[in-house]
């Protein structure tokens, strides 16, 4: 059981590392393509550089917001598993104490 809790903790920890690294998947090429398409469809004259800059800024903002949300999410799961792990460790310690006391009692009764 202890192993299962630890493995789960590692899974969540892995997810934390993974999740905080996930960017909003938009490459510079994709941004450039979207800007060209938008400006060709537009009837009014469009400043492509300004538009590309605005899109890039939006992507950065989205990335930051997503990263914040993922930090909240994974922090909550880390706290949950941390409580379980601490409780299991507490049980383990109690069991060890009891084993020790039993061994001591056996030794005393043998003498």
């Amino acid at each position: 059981m202890k192993i299962a809790v630890f493995v789960s903790f590692l899974v969540v920890l892995g997810l934390f590392i993974f999740a905080t690294q996930v960017p909003v998947t938009l490459t510079e090429d994709e941004v450039a393509k979207a800007v060209t398409e938008a400006s060709s469809e537009s009837e009014a004259p469009v400043d492509e550089d300004l538009l590309a800059q605005a899109v890039q800024l939006s992507v950065e903002k989205l990335e930051k917001a997503q990263s914040t949300r993922l930090k909240y999410l994974v922090s909550a799961y880390l706290v949950i598993w941390l409580v379980f792990i601490l409780y299991v460790l507490h049980l383990e310690r109690k069991q060890q104490e009891l084993d020790k006391r039993l061994a001591q009692l056996e030794q005393e009764s043998d003498q």
Binding site: M1, A4, S8, V11, V12, L15, A19, Q66, R69, L70, Y72, L73, S75, A76, Y77, V79, I80, V83, F84, Y87, L91, K94, Q95, L98, R101, L102, L105, E108, S109
Partner: protein, 220 residues
């Protein structure tokens, strides 16, 4: 117990996969909403754990079997663990959703009172010995359980709190409801597994005390 352990481990892994990889991302809270699956499941497991404590406390008062007291105390201990989880994961949700870590609204306050009452249960147990300890803690266990319906119906009794209505969680989108059901089952199985482990340990401790007392009386 080994089978329960394996089933629990599988359920926990499946539930974690469902939470992170299967359940649809909710539209308002986005990824943060996924805290719900374990937070609400832990809160419901608290009701089960303290319910077990209440049942065995009543049983103890009727039959006066030490075995019932051991089961009651094991369930109370686990209830406290799950309540701590609910109380710690809640503020993380609250910080994002309500822009505050804590709010003295009805459900949060009554849950904190519930947690404090069971902390009191253990303080009382540590202060007393023998039959007195079993008797008084059984009475306190029953009284403390009266707070559980207050926690559950808090949003109906005191309107205007931050928690949504009780029915909201049942109206989830299919993938979200399935994920929540599996997470709830995983935590209840984890509770059952830990309850068995803790009860066996308590039983062993009680047996050790009997043997020790016998040995000491023989020696003297």
């Amino acid at each position: 117990m080994k089978i329960i352990g394996i089933i629990t481990a599988i359920l926990v892994f499946i539930s974690l996969y469902l939470v992170f990889g299967y359940a649809r991302v909710e539209g308002t809270m986005l990824e943060v909403q996924k805290i719900f699956y374990y937070h609400v499941s832990a809160a419901l497991t608290v009701f089960v754990a303290f319910g077990v404590n209440c049942v065995f406390s009543i049983k103890y008062l009727i039959q006066r079997k030490p075995k019932d007291d051991l089961l009651a105390v094991a369930a109370a201990e686990l209830g406290l663990v799950f309540c701590t989880i609910a109380l710690l994961s809640g503020p993380i949700w609250a910080r994002y959703a309500w822009n505050t870590w804590w709010n003295w609204e009805a459900r949060l306050t009554s849950t904190l009172v519930l947690w404090l009452m069971y902390v009191g249960y253990f303080i009382l147990r540590s202060a007393l010995e023998g039959d007195k300890r079993r008797l008084y803690s059984a009475v306190l266990g029953i009284i403390a359980y009266l707070d559980v319906p207050i926690v559950y119906y808090a949003v109906d009794i005191w309107h205007g709190g931050l928690h949504p209505d009780r029915g909201t969680k049942w109206n989830l989108e299919t993938t979200m409801r399935q994920t929540w059901m599996v997470a709830l089952l995983a935590l209840i199985m984890l509770f059952v597994l830990l309850l068995i482990v803790r009860y066996r340990m308590k039983k062993a401790e009680a047996r050790y005390e009997i043997i020790r007392q016998k040995y000491l009386s023989e020696v003297s």
